[in-house]
Amino acid sequence: MFSRKSAGQPAMLAAVLSLGLAASAHAGTLVINTDTSDPAPKAAFEAAIEGFKAENPDVEVKWNIFDHEGYKTSIRNFLTAEAPDIAAWYAGNRMAPFVNAGLFEDVSDVWEGNGLNESLASAASSMTIDGKKWGVPYTYYQWGIYYRQDIFDDLGIEVPKTWDELKAAAAKLKENGITPFAIGSKALWPTGGWFDYMNLRVNGYEFHMDLTAGKVPYTDPKVVEVFDKWSELVEPGYFLENHAAYDWQEAVPFFVNGEAAMYLMGNFAVDLFKSGGLTEDQLGFMQFPEITPGLPKAEDAPTDTIHIPANASNKEDAKKFLAYVARAEVQTQMNEILGQLPTNKGSKRPEDKYLSQGFEMLSEAYALAQFYDRDARAEMAKAGMEGFQEFMVKPGNQDRILERLEKIRSRVYK
């Protein structure tokens, strides 16, 4: 998930070059570092910065765009060496290393002073560590199952609402020679989406958060239950064969060609589905079905954020910028460009079919998880997703995998 935008290697050169540009700023200059190397995020930030400049003509803005992948390494360098005044990053546990190392500034006062606790309420918990707020969210997007409406109609399959219906639909698709679920697990993170939803639906949000926070052993019977349920889909071969050989983009053709009928993904995939030739009539979106009856439904909704580094030299203007980006109309504008959802509840609802469905789903959600590799610690996330991938190829190794994950958990969260 974390690396969804491009499969490329970090463009270190670009990162190094822009590092030089981030050099010292005098008062009145606002240095902003972002990882918005892709066209839409870049345009969204450009709009926000232009708007901010128009309102604050005395502030000179210096904006450094980093390569999306390279940024993950660069941020570690520039936060310690030549800190900008604003840095883009991600919510949840992903920001914890920087918060714990004292590299991000506490911005609780920005939240207090601008009523953000109200307007950004849904994202508040994912921005909070030790009771303080460490940044401002500006966009998020939903995860869920995208399905082929036309194939469902042909085979007379209703949109599944429960676990049994989902299994029945999968069985019917399989009988007709169609792979029920497309997935490409080469980059590992797509398996994290499956685990998140299985755990959120079987055990609920609180347990999922405890697990990703390292408070529960992976050998816990409740985790075992998740894998038992999951294997009801893995054992019959409902997932795309050889999925470990494909990236998520490489699994899309199976879905577009009608060889697979469902795809658990984030909303960013719609772009690729559409450019592959699917129309809005062919492509449907559904919430992940209920597994444990009556359990309140939480969803995965990764949130992108901006932060003030602790070593920033112009914190005053940086706080102004944070407050500006938190505003309803600014988020409306940015997310129209991004094709994602604004975190401010006063923002205009999106008109896009999938976004408006996602918006509705998320506004009724019991709680929002970030994503396995943003909620769990990096080391645990890597080992965990590797385990999920192994499980999806060799479900028989379940016990061994869980024991291994437990060993890693007890070391990582000691």
């Binding site: 390494t73 980059a187 590992l188 996330a381 190829v393």
Partner: protein, 305 residues
């Protein structure tokens, strides 16, 4: 020396020691670079391997805890096992290269072109080699899958199968490595003395016996270099693993070099100390070969004098 006495009487220190000093002066820039960029980092890695460090926070001294953890780490043993498989199978490049070289060591029309075509894979970047083989192995549109289907067999997803994946990558690695060994042998074959071949022929040697007793002994220097570069190539097999599988599926194609990168520098890593500990182990393994290499080189140089 027929120098006038007036000059030789006033020789400076520089003039007296010029001959001894010159080689060291010429070596100095290179030696300095080698010291700063090769020798010092080795000791730095050993030092870092005793710490727990994420690259941004405080370093914590933890003694040999990284090594203790390493010897209880399944992923480490997978990587080590794969490194051994790499070492053994990569050695096939040496006889294969010899075979191709013998085959191409002819004087017929256009042989230069053919030789350069055989050398072609070595010119390609490893990244390109990895990509080409990844497509070759692709279970849906790859050439291998097509061949399997032509015979009515179910295609194997080589790079997604924990049992085949390492072998699949090694085959990709052998392609350029064979070309490299071939070039080494071709140059070696150029230097074979025709008299000895002639003498062998008079004594009735031909075929395998000629190859084994007359040709191969003369190719010993080439064989030695080919073995050394192949061993080192096998141990640092990082690029192909990174390009073709990212160490997957579920870490089963990792080698030590890749595991080190993953732990120390990749998206989910930043455990500098642990990565350094892996690097030290890898260095220790390489050291065995490097020592053998150096000892032999010195003894041969002495023998030649």
């Amino acid at each position: 020396m027929n120098r006038p006495a007036a000059i030789s009487g006033t020789t400076t220190f520089w003039q007296r020691h010029q001959r001894q000093a010159a080689p060291w002066l010429f070596l100095a820039p290179g030696a300095f670079m080698f010291l700063v960029y090769v020798i010092l980092p080795i000791f730095q890695s050993m030092w870092i391997s005793l710490y727990e460090w994420d690259g941004i926070g405080e370093k914590t001294f933890i003694g040999i805890a990284n090594y203790v953890e390493l010897f209880d780490d399944d992923a480490f043993y997978t990587s080590l096992k794969n490194n051994v498989i790499w070492l053994v199978l990569y050695m096939l490049a040496v006889p294969a290269g010899l075979f191709v070289a013998l085959f191409l060591n002819q004087t017929v029309f256009g042989i230069r072109l053919i030789k350069s075509l055989f050398f072609f894979p070595f010119v390609l970047s490893q990244v390109v080699v990895g990509l080409v083989f990844a497509w070759f192995y692709d279970p849906s549109f790859g050439l291998l899958a097509q061949v399997f289907e032509a015979f009515g067999l179910k295609p194997i997803a080589v790079l997604a199968d924990e049992d085949y994946v390492t072998y699949g990558i090694i085959v990709a690695g052998l392609w350029p490595q064979i070309a490299y060994c071939m070039i080494l042998y071709l140059t070696g074959l150029n230097n074979i003395s025709p008299e000895q071949i002639e003498a062998g022929r008079l004594d009735g040697a031909k075929g395998i016996r000629m190859l084994w007793h007359v040709v191969l002994p003369q190719l010993r220097p080439a064989t030695f270099i080919a073995v050394v570069v192949t061993v080192i190539g096998a141990l640092r097999s990082f690029d192909l693993v990174s390009i073709m599988t990212d160490g997957g599926p579920y870490g089963s194609s990792r080698v030590l070099a890749y595991y080190m990168y993953e732990q120390a520098l990749s998206e989910y890593g930043f455990r500098m100390g642990y990565g350094a500990a892996i690097a030290v182990v890898l260095f220790a393994i390489m050291m065995v070969y490097i020592t053998v290499f150096l000892v032999r080189m010195f003894s041969e140089e002495r023998g030649a004098r």
